[in-house]
């Protein structure tokens, strides 16, 4: 047996040193001239590197992404990309141009169809599709980036970064990279002599570049109240009366759809009339939804921690610092990793919508020919077995699920859907498209957003199904069919069994809840237009141009 050479214990540090030397030899200091960014990227990124490209469904390091895509595939190739969201055309360009060939991510959104095509052509290898928390977790385990390309609002001369209200994923990415021998490059919107606050210290940041234009932010969480329908108002009334009130849900997360926007806008009216102010919806893990403004102004809301910010909400947030997390400078500090943690462990309820649900309650937003991923919904929309602290809502749900002697509680995971989507596409189906997608993509698992066994309630225009109270798979199936309306699977219900479930309060109709559907009018909405939201905010909310009609 040969004597082994002594192991070198600082290869990462040495590699980092060589990269920085290459950059220095090209004359680069900490501040990179915008027209030389490609030279820098080609100097510090090596073939085979794991590169984290920051971008979420809000903030995007768009300039660095485009610049990386413009690098020479001769110099940079076989990159393994790790990123929260694959949203920009340049993200996919990286693979089409041969710079990168492997991807671990959470969500693909608008690029879902191009991504699916690349997978089928075997030009991209998908490691896994994660939830945000899983991906962040793996940054600290086996997917630590060699190079992180991030976006910040401002940098000072030393390289300290100010992230502004859209902190989002940056702290998690930078921490994982900077402390494991990686290189951190930040695009900034402006250079300032004095930052409003320091969000990332300069010695965690290697290079900054002033982007030609501010990083793109999508106003993804702005829902125009004008588009909320009467049916959504009806479902919101049912959810408030049949779930929020009954369980006394105080800590929660909402999805981004119009269904939950309707609930937010019914809090100051319908929920207030039911005497629920102070009893529900006091603490939130939520982006700053403009539709939450009336509830905040009405005194319903005590605290909101945010994943990211929302376009136009900055001044309002700053002026409501009792409610939002803000820095000494007055502006908001968001943090996706912490807010996701709050959504997973500190919320009693998640309520959101989906595109398809099967008879086991599994739901998916995947459609054929598109890989969309998960984002954070599965973190929020799952019952965490690691939770130990109790709350009335959690205990009540636990007793419903496991009996009076339950040794644990249960998170409320509510799916709220109209039985048909646009163009009469049924939401309730015998088999999710996700299974076909799994086959066509050769994936190990079907892309199920929320597992059926995590779902506690389903709200449709026909009623509420309480799956916690079901005692057999057959009961669950009939409870789901029993609120699936006139979809084919709904019409295939066992009517007698559904009536039995109704007698036991497992299926509840609007009339069982004392709700007259004819009272479900838009007049109940605290705001019926974006302009109403501006009025509620006292003029502090400045909606983006495309949401205005004035």
């Amino acid at each position: 047996m040969n004597a082994s050479l002594p192991r070198n214990w600082d290869t990462l540090r040495q590699s980092r040193g060589r990269r920085l030397e290459r950059a220095a030899s090209l004359g680069f200091g900490k501040e990179i001239p915008v027209d030389r960014i490609i030279d820098l990227l080609e100097a510090v990124i090596q073939p085979g590197d794991r590169v984290c490209l920051e971008g979420n469904n809000q903030k995007q390091a768009d300039f660095l992404s485009e610049s990386l895509a413009d690098c020479s595939p001769e110099r940079i190739n076989h990159l393994s990309m790790v990123q929260s969201v694959l949203a920009l055309p340049s993200h996919v360009d990286l693979f089409e141009r041969g710079l990168a060939n492997r991807l671990d991510f959470s969500f693909s959104g608008p690029q879902g169809a191009r991504l699916a095509k690349l997978v089928q052509e075997q030009r991209i290898e998908i490691g896994a599709i994660h939830t945000y928390l899983e991906l962040f977790g793996r940054y600290f385990m086996d997917l630590t980036p060699n190079v992180a390309l991030i976006a910040a609002q401002a940098a000072d001369a030393e390289g300290n970064l100010y992230l502004g209200p859209n902190t989002e994923d940056t702290p998690a990415i930078v921490e994982a990279t900077a402390f494991k021998g990686g290189i951190v490059i930040a695009q900034v919107n402006e250079r300032l002599d004095k930052l409003p606050r320091v969000d990332v210290p300069a010695d965690w940041v290697d290079f900054t570049v002033l982007a030609p234009k501010p990083n793109y932010i999508e106003p993804l969480f702005t829902r125009d109240p004008a588009q909320i329908t009467e049916v959504q108002v009806l479902m919101a009334m049912m959810a408030i009366k049949g779930i929020y009130a009954e369980y006394g849900v105080t800590r929660l997360n909402h999805g981004i759809g119009f269904d939950t926007a309707a609930i937010e806008l019914l809090l100051p009216t319908y929920a207030a009339d039911l005497g629920l102010k102070g009893k529900i919806c006091t603490h939130w893990a939520l982006n700053p939804h403009p539709t939450l403004i009336p509830a905040i102004e009405s005194g319903f809301v005590e605290s909101v921690h945010c994943f990211g910010s929302e376009v136009g909400m900055d001044a309002y947030i700053s002026a409501r610092s009792d409610v939002f997390f803000t820095g000494a400078d007055g502006s908001m500090r968001s943090n996706r990793a912490f807010s996701q943690t709050a959504g997973l462990y500190a919320c009693d309820m998640f309520i959101g919508s989906t595109l398809q649900m099967d008879m086991a309650g599994n739901s998916s937003t995947a459609t054929l020919g598109r890989i969309t991923g998960f984002g954070g919904a599965p973190n929020m929309g799952s019952d965490p077995h690691g939770r130990r602290h109790a709350s009335p809502a959690w205990l009540k749900a636990g007793r419903e699920a496991y009996g009076a002697n339950a040794i644990r509680g249960r998170k409320l995971v509510v799916q709220m859907v109209e039985t048909f989507r646009e163009h009469m596409a049924p939401v309730f189906v015998e088999e999710l498209d996700a299974w076909k997608l799994q086959k066509s993509m050769g994936a190990e698992l079907p892309p199920i957003m929320i597992y059926g066994d995590d779902v506690s309630h389903i709200v449709t225009e026909e009623g509420i199904a309480n799956l916690l109270l079901c005692r057999s798979p057959e009961e669950r199936e009939q409870a789901i069919r029993g609120v699936a309306g006139f979809t084919p699977v709904g019409m295939a219900r066992d009517k007698a069994m559904v009536e039995n479930l109704r007698d036991r309060g497992i299926v509840r109709r609007p009339e069982d809840l004392g709700i007259d559907p004819r009272l479900a009018t838009r007049d109940l909405l605290a705001a019926r237009s974006v302009k109403d939201l501006v009025r509620w905010s006292g003029g502090l909310y400045a909606p983006p141009s495309r949401f205005r009609n004035w």
Binding site: A272, P294, E297, R528
Partner: protein, 300 residues
């Protein structure tokens, strides 16, 4: 909650029938050719499209402040309020009837993109007939008041019709123009007119801009009650002028002057600055009362 928000019944959101119900004196609404007595457009059926019983317009008589009036209300939610054969003929009938019976006014609740393309020729000719009929009613001494604040605004031929009326009462949400921003963007490019930049669309075509420039007589809140009181107030102070050369000469001069002054402008901000507004960028955020006060304080 904020009381003023709860009490508001948005004109922008309401259906044509809901607008009429709130606009006219309670109980005075009486429809001519109501849905039960009419048939949907056969031309739409030929194109395999369902029609509406009233073909997207309600014509009626009723009262406003106890004075007899006629009203015409287009339904913007049905085919964009666009004018087809039946729709147009109902409007023409009501206007001609007004010229004969001389009610105190015709209230014309315009909410329309113009010609219904599915009945393009019928719609264009009907709009021409509406134009003549509006002028005939006015020549007979009957004021025709356009109320513009619906989701479709007053575009295309209906934009011309609106400007042929005695006056236009508009809300901030209302829009008044000829070609829609989408059409201009499609033909001339997004650089010419970005139709998704809604703030820009409103600075070019919206109620505040039209009011500041004098193209609309009154600016009201997006509230059915505000339209009612606006129309009432306007009628109280109005007598329909006899058509005359002098009147049109004055109009000609105004239009020529402003073309000479503003022809190169492309944004309401430029026009408002030229009108003497000190902080034009603040205009879109002003509420209705503040804007009316601003206009009244402008140099004339």
């Amino acid at each position: 909650m904020i009381a003023s928000l709860a009490a508001r019944h948005s004109w922008f959101e309401a259906t044509a029938r809901a607008r009429l119900a709130g606009l006219l004196d309670p109980g005075s609404f009486s429809e001519i050719l109501p849905p039960a007595e009419s048939n949907p457009s056969p031309h739409l059926a030929l194109l395999d499209l369902p029609g509406a019983f009233d073909d997207g317009v309600v014509v009626c008589y009723g009262q406003l402040g106890k004075r007899p009036i006629f009203a015409i209300a287009q339904e913007g939610q049905f085919m964009g309020g666009a004018v087809g054969e039946i729709h147009g003929a109902k409007i023409v009938g009501m206007l001609r009837r007004a010229a004969q019976e001389k009610p105190a006014a015709v209230l014309f609740l315009i909410d329309s993109g113009g010609v219904r393309l599915h009945e393009a020729n019928a719609g264009l000719i009907a709009i021409s007939e509406i134009m003549r009929a509006v002028l005939d009613a006015r020549a007979a001494g009957v004021p025709v008041i356009a109320l513009v604040g619906g989701s479709c605004g007053a575009f295309g031929g209906m934009g011309i019709v609106a400007k042929l009326c005695s006056a236009i009462v508009i809300s901030e949400e209302g829009r008044l123009a000829l070609s829609g921003p989408e059409v201009i963007e499609t033909v001339a490019g997004v650089e010419e007119f970005d139709s998704k930049d809604r703030a820009l669309v409103w600075r070019v075509t919206g109620g505040k801009h039209r009011y500041l420039m004098g193209d609309c007589a009154m600016l009201v809140e997006d509230d059915i009650a505000a339209f009612r009181s606006g129309a009432t107030e306007f009628l109280a102070g109005w007598s329909e002028p006899v058509p005359s050369v002098a009147h049109l000469r004055a109009g000609q001069q105004t239009l020529e002057n402003r073309l000479a002054a503003y022809a190169s402008y492309r944004d309401g901000l430029q026009v408002w600055a030229a009108l003497g507004v000190a902080e034009p960028e603040s205009v879109p955020l002003l509420d209705r009362d503040a804007l009316v006060a601003l206009k009244e304080g402008l140099p004339t």
